[in-house]
């Protein structure tokens, strides 16, 4: 239908005089662009030169330090002789930064777990591939069980690896992924509850959402690690990681609920009415008509919450879990590598940035996709 309007619009326009258009940008070239934008008058020229100078004094030494005069490979700090960054530190401990204290012989299990996840996510992300519903159901319901047995072990001939040995980037990813995936179904229920006409359900959901959105994650983590054990009998050994995860999921589901609510609001009333008129009951209407449409629109929002959570997971270091940041920090206090904290933190920042940037790019891509209307299917 939009195609038709476009055609009729342009046919109207051709009757009139066409306005003058500026020449296409690339025909004037880089020099033309610079003249117009950077050196159009004296103030602009001074500003431009100043900016170039500031960039120069910031970038050149950084590049020198990080790349040109850096040392990359070696066994100890003795290899760091050139005066630049000592990436030898990262190089030596890279495995630990990725896997924590997970036994070396078992690390293939982590690799396999993430490899499986990447395949499934790729399947969902690549538009052409069929059976997305089935794959989503697998990711949500079957894969977590597989991942649990792969990572934790204790059966199927796999050695048990206790969670206090988990750490590094893999732990960060596990926390963030579990947080987001487990929060999604709760978020959907809370959002539906918040829009419900039953006063008790509705007020419960509103109170829950507003409560968790009102406290910082760091408080939640403290509560989970300090307060929760007070309420359970001492004999019950409540895993520290599990406690953190529960705290994160409870916290995150409140945010997820708001994302879902936004998606639900975007569905026109007519869709509900048509579903009802056909005789679908509430759950079928939601599951077959409303949520499939709403979830698609929610993907950018979900990715954004995921980015926020991914960065927030580094807070678990305060309750003694060794996520990426904590394990790098622990490495920094090793007497053999004292004094390389800049390298350590730069590495952590780079890792976080790589993940967040690519996710944010993907979510922007999706938003554009939905905006142009191709996403309506």
């Amino acid at each position: 239908m939009t195609g038709e309007t476009l055609v009729s619009d342009s046919s109207k326009v051709t009757d009139k005089m066409l306005p003058d258009l500026p020449p296409p940008a690339n025909s004037t070239g880089v020099i033309g662009w610079m003249r117009a934008n950077l050196f159009s008058n004296i103030t602009n020229t001074i500003m431009t030169l100043l900016a170039i100078y500031i960039l120069y004094i910031l970038v050149v030494p950084s590049v020198n330090w990080a790349l040109l005069t850096a040392d990359w490979i070696g066994d100890s700090r003795d290899a760091c002789t050139s005066g630049g960054a000592c990436w030898v530190f990262i190089y030596n401990r890279f495995d630990q930064f990725m896997y924590g204290f997970y036994p070396e012989a078992e690390r293939w299990r982590i690799d396999l777990t993430f490899f499986l996840l990447v395949i499934q996510v790729a399947w969902l992300v690549i538009p052409k591939l069929p059976r997305k519903g089935l794959v989503s159901a697998f990711v949500l319901f079957v894969y977590p069980i597989i991942a649990y047995y792969l990572l934790y072990g204790g059966s199927f001939g796999l050695n048990l690896v206790e969670t206090h040995k988990w750490g590094g980037l893999s732990l960060t990813l596990i926390l963030a992924i579990v947080g987001i995936v487990a929060a999604l179904p709760f978020g959907v229920l809370l959002a539906l509850g918040r829009r419900s006409e039953m006063p008790i359900v509705k007020s419960f959901c509103v109170v829950y959402i507003e409560f968790w959105r009102g406290i910082p994650l760091i408080t939640v983590l403290f509560m989970a690690s300090v307060m929760l054990p007070l309420f359970v009998p001492e004999e019950v050994d409540f895993d520290k990681l599990l406690r953190a995860m529960i705290g994160i999921v409870l916290f995150q589901s409140a945010y997820m609920a708001e994302v879902v609510r936004g998606g639900l609001q975007a569905i026109p009333k007519g869709q509900y009415e048509a579903a009802q008129a056909l005789g679908l009951n509430y759950w079928k209407m939601m599951g077959l008509v409303v949520l499939p449409q709403a979830l698609k629109m929610m993907i950018p929002g979900i990715v954004n919450t995921f980015i926020a959570l991914f960065k927030d997971t580094s807070l678990v270091l305060i309750i003694g879990l060794f996520d990426l940041l904590a394990i790098v920090q622990a490495g920094l206090s090793d007497p053999d590598w004292l004094g390389y904290s800049v390298e350590g933190y730069a590495f952590v920042a780079l890792m976080f940035w790589m993940f967040c940037f690519s996710m944010s790019k993907y979510s922007q891509h999706l938003e554009k996709h939905f905006h142009t209307g191709h996403g309506s299917r």
Binding site: P268, A274, Q276, A277, L278, G279, K284, S376
Partner: protein
Amino acid sequence: MSTTREIEDKLMVEMRGVNKWYGDFHVLKDVNLQVRKGERIVICGPSGSGKSTTIRCLNHLEEHQQGDIVVDGTTLNNDLKNIETIRREVGMVFQHFNLFPHLTVLENCALAPIWVRKTPRKEAEELAMKFLRRVKIEEQALKYPGQLSGGQQQRVAIARSLCMNPQVMLFDEPTSALDPEMIKEVLDVMVELADEGMTMLCVTHEMGFAKTVADRVIFMDKGQIIEENEPHEFFNNPQSERTQAFLSQILNH
């Protein structure tokens, strides 16, 4: 006009003293209406007179506060079972089609038979194809609603309702959102449906349709049924002043 068709004595829809309020606003005032099986009713009236509200009460898209509504022997009350029963028997076509954009035309039609009537998928798809053929759109079955014209979408919406094998069909201004050249294709489908003996309640401003198809025309104003007559009398000899004013407005403009 089809004179061969028979209207049975059985009451399909009955509204007795129905009242409805939106807050303080009294939308439906003492509405009484009886529709027998096979009857075709056209409801007209000025904007805001409560036409949509009346037919939306019949399948409980709106809730009435006073009076009784009985559809095909089932009384509409707050019992969810009764509401579900009635919705299975009553099909509805909306002004803006309300097709499900994430499903293909075929899936749109097969959805309710599969999930409400528990028809096996394959059978439901055959059923869907049968009705898509009837509204002459079977070649679009695998497209998405967004790829169809308004008239095509409305015909799909009619087929989707018919797949549930309804006893009554409600139409709420089914042609008002269509470009003029598409109105006829939808009306043709509706006329055909009427000829097959479907019980129909139709809110429309298409007076041509009312004249040829309707057994009775109902005129509503300010939430009341003002006048009710067979089409010839209704158009040529309107009784109330308000009906006369309304008719002169829409027929002469």
